[in-house]
Symmetry: C2
Subunit: 209 residues, 2 copies
């Protein structure tokens, strides 16, 4: 299959809408984060070298580097999420006739579910970092692009929410209770962090719109 990120928007949307369960919400979460990072990068690019933004130049240049790094990482996670889902599907299809096969399959499934949880967990963590950049961009970036800073924050926030749901779905199949407990705690923190950061950014934008 063509890598998702090499498909055009129309094809990707067709593939998403099709009766195949992958790509699904996990890849969309990563794409949402990548779109958020791209919009923060755009506002940084529209601020660089602009009159009236002299004192912000160093910080904006630094945020642009970070935002582009996150954009690349989140873009990779679009395919990684679908790959991790397919690993689970492959483990499900493993033979389960002998006791030995059952044990092998069980182990492979648990590994696959953990991986399928960790990919959207990474998406959520990266989206939080996009929100940190979007806040600086909304505060100090080109005022003509303030609505783009807001949309950047909205996409990153949604990326966290969507990714968290996809982690939870996979956690429900994982038997390692200590792992489940630990990740669940992180998910709550990520969600709360995302909602607070996003509300703060939208407040900054509201004052300047």
């Amino acid at each position: 299959m063509t890598k998702l990120v090499n498909q055009n928007l129309k094809m990707f949307l067709d593939e998403l809408a099709s009766s195949s369960p992958a790509p699904g919400g996990g890849s969309v979460a990563a794409l949402s984060g990548a779109l958020g990072a791209a919009l923060s990068s755009m506002v940084c690019n529209l601020t660089r070298g602009k009159q009236g933004y002299e004192t912000a130049q160093a910080e904006i240049a630094e945020k642009l580097d970070k935002s582009e790094e996150l954009r690349i990482g989140l873009t990779e996670l679009i395919d990684k999420d679908t790959e991790a889902f397919n690993e689970v599907m492959n483990a499900i299809k493993m033979p389960k006739e002998t006791e030995d096969q059952k044990e092998q399959r069980r182990k492979a499934l648990q590994l696959a579910f953990k991986h399928a949880a960790e990919v959207p967990l990474e998406t959520a963590r990266k989206c939080i970092q996009v929100l940190e950049i979007a806040r600086i961009v909304a505060e100090k970036g080109n005022k003509n692009s303030i609505s783009d800073a807001a949309v950047s924050a909205l996409m990153a926030q949604t990326g966290v929410q969507a990714a968290v749901l996809n982690v939870r779905i996979n956690l429900s199949s994982i038997k390692d209770t200590k792992y489940v407990q630990q990740v669940s705690t992180e998910l709550q923190e990520l969600l709360q962090n995302a909602m607070e950061k996003s509300a703060e950014i939208l407040g900054i934008v509201e004052k300047n719109l």
Copy 2:
């Protein structure tokens, strides 16, 4: 320029992140809605003909048709938003030396701003319809895909929020106060509607996750 929807995800994200102000948040709003529609379509497709969902078949088939129609409409709005932005840019560049030219430019600008407001307004309206479908899908669709129904709702909700910001930015340049008043009222209704519908859907999903 290649139509945005014919660009691959990587190229589209590069273009978005670049120092060109278009595409920007308005096109991302439409894409967010299209992703939401695609995920609702996917859950419908994964529900059709499935055992245990016999009584939902007729309604799911109907929602799938509607969801696909919305997906096509929202996909078109990705390019339409960038085109509308470029119309504003072209009007700004019109000559303004004589009184006659100034008047022509003023008229062209007002028309262009109204068009640039109406495109994201249409995006927001369509995203509300995606939310209506996502609710049915979360309630009656394949339970194995319930997190996808939730992500569908999140993307559509974000589509409304992002589109509303883009309408507001353009309204701030429109002199026709009656028009501005009327659209502003609709925006408030769309936003409230989106937040209520989305919260309701996430509540349904939470009970079934």
